[in-house]
Amino acid sequence: MIGRERMTVASQRLIAERTYELTLSGRLVQEMRQPGQFVHVKVAASADPLLRRPLSLCHIDHKQGQCTIIYRQEGKGTALLAQKQPGDTVDVLGPLGNGFPLEAAPAGSRALLVGGGIGVPPLYELAKQLTKRGVKVVSVLGFQTKAAVFYEEEFAAFGETHVATDDGSHGTAGRVTDVIEARSLEFDVLYACGPKSMLRALAERFPNRPVYVSLEERMGCGVGACFACVCHVPGSETAYKKVCSDGPVFRAGEVVL
């Protein structure tokens, strides 16, 4: 069930350049299930900024009643969010959207998780849940530069983890696809979240394989009513999917990237 709650900030810390890890407490956590789902957060009670911010769930902890979100400070909304201190509350709507299909990777299979920049966080909960189901997880994380890298060790705890940076300041120099190629990484199913260009490159490289991609789009309502975040469906000019409510995770080929 989607709910709305003023959740309490349990902790907040800077984990990379302009990148924050925010942990929230509240009963809404019990509704959070799928990795890849997101919450829609109102960062201020005022009308500026007016709209909520879609932020993906990075870690769900039912026992503690806490969830973690990782976001990059880009504009006014995220700057205000970065100022929140433990004990402060934020207005959260969620969980929203459909996450990564876990059943696509049966126990004993091999899943390749590919994240780009601020697309990395939802893959953490995915890695956790896949590992729990007996799936072997290999992660490839791409960042622009060393200062932007986060959660490398956290992913390594679940299995083989590679990092690529655009400028070569950490890990392999180049793109996530370069790492996959250079290391000849094999997989039964691939899950990815990151810039559209990265998702497109992955979909094109593995056209006949099970590839699931999580899309990002500017949203109004987050629940499917405003039609702001639509994307095209191949072969039709009028058919569409809404990123917020049909996605944000789609099987590659289901929507035009």
Partner: protein, 313 residues
Amino acid sequence: MNRLAVELPGLSLKNPIMPASGCFGFGREYARFYDLSVLGAMMIKATTKEPRFGNPTPRVAETPGGMLNAIGLQNPGLDKVLEEELPWLEQFDVPIIANIAGSTVEEYVEVAEAISKAPNVHALELNISCPNVKKGGITFGTVPDVAAELTRLVKEVSAVPVYVKLSPNVTDIVAMAKAIEQAGADGLTMINTLVGMRIDVKTGRPVLANGTGGLSGPAVKPIAIRMIYEVSQAVSIPIIGMGGVQTAEDVLEFFYAGASAVAVGTANFVDPFVCPTIINDLPALLDDLGIGHISECIGRSWKTSAHAVHCRA
């Protein structure tokens, strides 16, 4: 006595609160949050004859106190709305105001005739003011003669009362309102969004793929209030007001300006529960202000204030 009940052409409303067209889809999403029967009415998303995908993304951008959108009247088309959306909405005790749009006069007329016959459609809202489509929309809503002729033709075929949604993007909204009233409109809805734009400081390019978009939200409320204040004194048909409504206080402000009901738009995106919250809050607000029935408030600002005349300059 139901202190919130209002009577409008074609619409016996248990309360004067309704989601605005384009901000509530066809109700399916918000029906997951609450029983839509609590609403006074529902203005469903603009329907065109053929399905429309709308404009490329990004289609929304934020601005202080408001948002810009350039959705471009995306909708599943007349047939799907008649076959799927309207029958689904019959489970709720809520009158529907069907917003209709078109690229040509013929298309408006065809959609109006068909959709006005649906059993739960109690009124039409003629969309001649969408700023985000190249054909139709606002092109019909900025020239009084054109708007009046379209209103007359739609009135001829419609089985239910016709409300015309006015654009604020005109020089003289009173002239437009009068022309539409004379053409036989049963009511007005106002205002639609204001054409606006944002430019990305990093790239130097417009934020919206469409370039411009329609500004809505609290930022436009004073403009809506002023326009309703002017138009309501110049016409004798009722006005459904909208533009930045977020609270019960906002609703009363629209009534004081001259509205007889109020639609809530952008605020639904910020708070999915905003409509039922406003409906719940209204009686206590009326108590605080010593108001017996909400309809007593219609046009109070210009009916009772000597100051009113000066404000109109």
